[in-house]
Symmetry: C2
Subunit: 342 residues, 2 copies
Amino acid sequence: MSRSKPTIDDVARMAGVSRATASRVINNAPGASGPLRVRVHEAVARLGYRPNEAARALASGRPRVVDVIAVSCNLPGGWLGSNPYYSRVLAGMMPLLEGMGAQLRVHALSHESAAEALDEIAAGVTLGAVLSDITPALAARFHRRCRRVVSLVPTAATVPAMVADNIGGAYTAVTRLHRLGRRRIAAIHGPAISTCAADRRIGHLRAVQRSGLADISADAAFTREGGYDAAQRLLAQHPDLDAVFVACDLMAAGVVQALTAHGRRVPEDVSVIGFDDSVAAICANPPLTTMRLPVEEMAAAAVRLLVSGDISPGHRELFPAELILRQSTARMSKVGPGIAGS
Amino acid sequence: MSRSKPTIDDVARMAGVSRATASRVINNAPGASGPLRVRVHEAVARLGYRPNEAARALASGRPRVVDVIAVSCNLPGGWLGSNPYYSRVLAGMMPLLEGMGAQLRVHALSHESAAEALDEIAAGVTLGAVLSDITPALAARFHRRCRRVVSLVPTAATVPAMVADNIGGAYTAVTRLHRLGRRRIAAIHGPAISTCAADRRIGHLRAVQRSGLADISADAAFTREGGYDAAQRLLAQHPDLDAVFVACDLMAAGVVQALTAHGRRVPEDVSVIGFDDSVAAICANPPLTTMRLPVEEMAAAAVRLLVSGDISPGHRELFPAELILRQSTARMSKVGPGIAGS
DNA sequence: GCTATCTGTGAGAGCGCTCTCGCCCGTATC
DNA sequence: GATACGGGCGAGAGCGCTCTCACAGATAGC
């Protein structure tokens, strides 16, 4: 008995059929049938045969790999830093891929190496690529090289995308603060390079204009420190602020820390709403009300589109943001422990 | 001009050399040289040639894929939940893999599907697998099927592993609390199924015995809610506690929330130390002192071992935990804003 | 009973690459 | 100048699989 892995020829020999028939049975393609199917299956089981994926990919030309590409444009500290967003993206894709026997390949690219690396990936044998973090320029370039691409972040209109309703989400958040009776509502926005940040900024502005409020806002990096510092600045300029809309939870956690350090109570004195519904939101003290994006669903939809194959330039689907109520916007009366809704 | 991707034959033809020579140059193997190398490189550049990975893997038999396997045994809410730990694992591996042109394949398995899935993966063509979350039993089973395995979590002695010094880390944390003058030190441990949790429990116990302190402890799930509830229970039974060692930051964030809700100030009344140095630690209010594990380094070391090939059963390397000081254990005097050390 | 139409099966040609082997040519050795 | 050696190079045989195609054998139509 040979020490090496059994091949489809071994299976065919054992089953007493040709390699072609064995292949047909294994891929349950039509044209093989009856007792032969049984015999082949028996042989597979007895030999513990597993198809060699590389050979399959080579012979069929039909890949079974989905690439996930992240070019960190938002986050300092390098890719994936400690951002659970990527975890959610992967988590959304895995069950689907697992189910169809496809594999997931992760590419983390620095901004500098991205251009060449994208070419490399585009040339690869892949079902397609999910862009989970990328600048519009790079996304467009990538799409030009490789049509089978779906972006999870806003990009040029030609690139197929699953886009989250960042504008609507920000609008909802600010409106919520207004309904809570807040009138000095500040906003802390993310860096301009991020299209998500830009959209959230637009949503905020619309809500502010619609409500006839002053536009009190500051920019910051998408980090806890960014939020902390921005809150301090805002507090210095507008000591009377009574609510803060923050463009991401990580920043929002820093905002809450800054407010506490400056003697403001959350939510009694200042209401805070974050964005993303990340771990940062539940770990902040008090836990943060936030806008949740259906990241898992978006990632899954991206995979489905990729696999379906009929992916046209400009295809896009919009996913709404959901308001998750926690203590940072609780009404004044009773502030119970835990993550109670308001 | 053909619409399809250029192959190595196209390169060879354009460079006026044989396929073998082209291959030698592309893989910069010895035996090709001088002007030919230049010509081949030129042809590659002109054609935009990229080797087909599937064909490479098939022909060489030498795979260029590293599998990362996570069977969620710790986390509720499914795989990867929102746990940045996985992000750190991936982040640690990516630069290395990217550098050697290898790919990373992610497998997220549920506990039920794991057994068969592991067999499937073991049969695949892979440089090896990094087990980032798995029970000892499954890890051992996997190691039996596929020798090229490195675990990042404690397992049976035969399975090669990069192990974090959870025992020492917990010991350090508790000792720190003791040195701070705390004498009623409580601990909140993770679920028994997790070997990390078990080790942290051992470290805590050693420190407690060594310091002659009482063993005040509670068990909880590795979640914010788990920490919150456990802290409440502990507080009810031991209202005089003045420090809490918590087996993970996510729980610790909940602990801080519970302490605050019950009128305890952190760190003035109660010192808190978490574990992992995750996002949860910096988002908690106040930010948490915590034990940091060199997860990225461990993951990178795992890849290096896998690639080196000389991976013997029982191989293991120990990685120390590092104390990261933040406000939750700051000395009473001045509690400045931000993440100041103590 | 003969050609036409199936369906089930096997032979065999690749997929794009790596790698062994042997050839050729240049230099060292006698 | 003939023999040995060695390094650069090309020919060609696979790697394990898929898939086309041709060929049997069975059924149908005239």
